[in-house]
Symmetry: C2
Subunit: 241 residues, 2 copies
Amino acid sequence: MTYCVGLKLSAGLVLLSDTRTNAGLDNISCYRKMFFFGNPDERVITIMTAGSLSVTQTTIARLEEAIEDELADETTSILKAPTMLRVATIIGNTLSRTRRDISDQFRDLKQQASASMIVGGQRRGGDMRLFLIYPEGNFIEATEDTPFLQIGEHKYGKPILDRVVTPATSLADAQKAVLLSMDSTLRSNLSVGMPLDLAVIERDACRVTTRRRILDGDPDFARMSAAWSAALRDSFVKVTI
Amino acid sequence: MTYCVGLKLSAGLVLLSDTRTNAGLDNISCYRKMFFFGNPDERVITIMTAGSLSVTQTTIARLEEAIEDELADETTSILKAPTMLRVATIIGNTLSRTRRDISDQFRDLKQQASASMIVGGQRRGGDMRLFLIYPEGNFIEATEDTPFLQIGEHKYGKPILDRVVTPATSLADAQKAVLLSMDSTLRSNLSVGMPLDLAVIERDACRVTTRRRILDGDPDFARMSAAWSAALRDSFVKVTI
């Protein structure tokens, strides 16, 4: 399983992913699920992935090939597409084609391979945008009303986001919110695991402002997690029915 | 959908269920999902249900028929079974048989009907026990390590239970915990809905000690829900990363 969450705020984008990949319960590995693309100071694009590793890796590899192809143009390369909407369209089409190719290979098994992605970024002169791309290649976008998008194991970590995240949330508070959302998920689903990848992209910076890998046993994360548990228990004592 | 939760504590059982039943998003009704059986001061049995309404209603009706049958004996009537384990076995067998009967009727649709149940209670002289019965009729039991069981939409409401419920939790705190667990679920899943049914069975009472229906707009529940939201937001401000 996987948990990835992206927030689109007035101040910028905040993105967090775990790194656990498993094939069954007895085959667990660590794979990065957050990828960065860009032209310095012209555009920044982040992709987070959930689902079948063969689909997500092949999709990312095909996007890279399309960028490096000498015939690359604005319809094939996410570094040449004129808008973030076109970027999302290229990624959606590539994901959909990869998923179909791999599902075809699975035909005899009567199984399907699937994956979804969160794509965020900004091109100089354009708006900052955040999309959730479905396995079929269609997508939805974060808005003022719903400023966050999740893929993978989204349920355990949603209540805290529902309660504290608005477009006006600061980047510092937003990082806290996604880390607490991840903390609830890590506690409840063993197939979501450390280390974590955290990224912040400030509005109009057109580059990744902060990028951090949080390792298992990270003292700041452990302290925050313990403080949150204690605060929840205190709150529980104070609330009356 | 549904959310039902049962806690087995040193002090007794605490049970909570919602009442929303839906066939699609445009056909929503209210059905009780908590049922009581017993012989005064000899035994008390509570059943909570999740899943296909035709399966759960028919299972409850067959259990009632078996109780009223003039040939009822300890292998067929949950009011004559000598232990709570035997009660769970009778309910599991009845559920499994009903599920198979209805799934047979669905054969041409290539669909299956399914349901699960939480069964709690005590017989005078025996232990208080709490079981989760799967659609196939097998079951698991709440223990010291895991004193709560959930059916239906269990994810949103699990983090609070994980953090605050132990076998030593008081009946008052336990009622607060299940109501807060339900509150998180109600906020996140529209197919779980008010009113709620809450029951408490004190250890060795062998009867339902408290039984309460909480209606939509209940002022105590609304106040608790608002206080919990405020407390969570306060906690969020205090925790630092």
